[in-house]
């Protein structure tokens, strides 16, 4: 995955592109408004993405607690409705809390640093390979390990971030 630009940078780029390269060429006011609505949604997504997972976890854990609290409040109340509230408190409310997700900025930073390390390995292994001899075979093996790591990464990037239809804009 790219971390520079990351997903936020890509979305920001689309917003800027709409402003600079699309809106000035729209002659219809409704189309301009639609473009600006698209920017608004994209900006909303930008603001949500960094907190999305942590809010889901926070609110997941808060909902289980709320189900338990609500059930406890109906202690001694008779009737099917109260029984169902207590049942939800006892089942869904008993779900274990989820762990807080890691800080995505810190993950991206560490991910980038590790990527640079693999990159440096490729350069160093090339020197050993070019020197030849027995060490070259070991370097071949080490490079194969790096390549074995990279192949599924590129495949994942391809399957998640590309679309059919080729290079848009070339006839």
């Amino acid at each position: 995955m790219n971390t520079n630009p990351g997903m936020d940078g890509m979305i920001e780029g689309v917003i800027v592109g709409i402003t600079n390269e699309l809106i000035p060429f729209l002659s219809n006011e409704k189309a301009v408004a639609t473009a600006m609505m698209m920017q608004s949604i994209l900006q909303g997504v930008r603001q949500t993405l960094p907190v999305y997972d942590s809010y889901l976890v926070l609110e997941h854990n808060d909902m289980t607690a709320t189900l338990r609290t609500a059930a406890a409040a109906l202690d001694g109340v008779a009737g099917d409705e109260a029984a169902r509230v207590r049942e939800r408190g006892a089942t869904l409310g008993a779900l274990a809390d989820l762990p807080a997700p890691p800080d995505s900025t810190a993950v991206a930073r560490a991910y980038n640093e590790l990527g640079r390390a693999l990159e440096a390995n490729i350069s160093d292994l090339d020197v050993i390979q070019r020197a030849g001899g027995a060490d070259a075979a070991a370097a071949d093996k080490a490079l194969a390990a790096v390549r074995g790591h990279l192949a599924p990464r590129y495949l994942r990037d391809f399957s998640t971030f590309t679309l059919a239809g080729g290079f848009i804009g070339r006839s």
Binding site: M1, N2, T3, N4, P5, G9, M10, G13, V14, V16, G17, N20, E21, N112, G115, R116, L118, E119, I122, S123, D126, Q129, R130, L143, A144, V146, R147, G148, L150, A151, P152, R153, Y154, L155, D157, F158, F161, T162, L163, A164, G165, G166, F167, I168, G169, R170, S171
Partner: protein, 366 residues
């Protein structure tokens, strides 16, 4: 000299684009009694240059002639994918016209004074023929012409690759047009200096370590140099979108800005890469000859193998990947806000996948 359209753009001196075109045409056609320009409009597409179309009515000795033109203009330096010279491109096109039968637009001249058209520009003939080359593939409306067009395209490429280099490399300007230290005194020197260019460029252009397969490819190419072939003039962007066609023939090979001295297999390799990226199938034609490579080999006798082609897919792609990756880097670093430079990340992923296949990465798709 008159201008019969509403001016759409003015240069720094407040002169309209049309008036500048009239002045330019008057300069390159001194025998014209009058010139009128009309229909100036941008042409969509074309990633590296800004292109505009217009017509000019030229009167000579009382006879009126309407000529079709394209103004091919540099984008501002900060957003340019390739830093190339319109003057060099003009001289090359005229050399190709003079020394070959390759269909190519006449170039009327280059204007390097940025005060005239805003950026350096050149004026070329607008050729007849369709540029919608995607219509030739995937059961498109012109699919019945695909074999004949690709047969001719192959013959055009062979003529380019077998024309005496000295006739096309005017003033030696195409030996190292980027000024990056390419040495064309021999095939080995060319390959070695090109490896050095690719490898030394990597640290400064790799905006993200996700591009590291490009580094691996450059180093692997250097460790596994193939057999030599004669250095020739390569088109440099020989791809499924860079020709026009009509009635089963190529009417123009276009976009010569990345032309240079190189190995002929680079053009073939880049075509394969772009064929894959563009969802086209140039290399599968002409079918009765066994495809583009087989026909190319038949015409040249060079017997280029699929393995060599694989090598030059990477070698030829790297020539474009270096400036393109640098453009993405500049966008990622927010040196500019050009959307194309961001978009390039997405289609480039298929190139990275292709490299993993060609390098034999364990687990890469076959």
């Amino acid at each position: 000299m008159t201008c019969d359209t509403i001016p759409v753009a003015y240069n720094a001196l407040g002169v309209s684009m049309e008036q500048q075109l009239v002045s330019f045409l008057q300069r390159v056609m001194p025998d014209a009694d009058s010139v009128r320009v009309s229909g100036f409009a941008p042409i969509p597409g074309g990633f590296s240059r800004e292109t505009f179309r217009f017509d000019a009515v030229v009167v000579r000795d009382g006879a009126e002639e309407t000529l079709a033109f394209i103004l091919r203009k540099n984008p501002p330096d900060v957003v340019a994918l390739l830093q190339t010279s319109r003057e060099v491109e003009h001289q090359l096109i005229e050399a190709v016209r003079a020394h070959t039968t390759i269909p190519v637009s006449r170039s009327y001249g280059a204007e390097m004074d940025t005060n005239v058209f805003g950026e350096a520009a050149m004026l070329i003939e607008r050729m007849h023929g369709s540029g919608q080359t995607s219509n030739l593939f995937n059961e498109g409306p012109d699919a019945h012409q695909a074999d004949d067009v690709m047969r001719h395209l192959c013959e055009v490429l062979v003529e380019l690759h077998t024309t005496d280099l000295a006739k096309l490399n005017v003033g030696g300007q195409l030996s190292d047009p980027r000024g990056v230290g390419i040495d064309t005194t021999s095939w080995d020197a060319y390959m070695d200096s090109t490896f050095e260019y690719y490898i030394s460029s990597y640290p400064s252009i790799a905006y993200d370590p996700a591009a590291m397969v490009l580094l691996d490819a450059s180093l692997t190419l250097r460790r596994n140099k193939p057999r030599p072939l004669p250095l020739v003039l390569v088109h440099g962007d020989f791809n499924p979108a860079n020709f026009l066609y009509q009635d089963g023939r190529v009417t123009a090979l276009i976009d010569w800005e990345n032309s240079r001295v190189g190995d002929p297999r680079e053009d073939l390799g880049w075509m394969v890469a772009m064929d894959n990226m563009s969802n086209t199938s140039v290399m599968a034609h002409p079918t009765d000859e066994g495809g583009f490579l087989a026909y190319y080999n038949k015409l040249t006798g060079w017997n280029i193998t699929p393995e060599e082609l694989g090598y030059f897919i990477m070698f030829g792609t790297m020539n474009i990947a270096v400036p393109v990756t640098d453009a993405v880097r500049r966008r990622a670093a927010k040196e500019n806000e050009v959307f194309l430079n961001l978009y390039l990340i997405q289609p480039s992923i298929s190139t990275l996948i292709a490299f993993t296949q060609l390098l034999g990465y364990p687990g890469a798709p076959a």
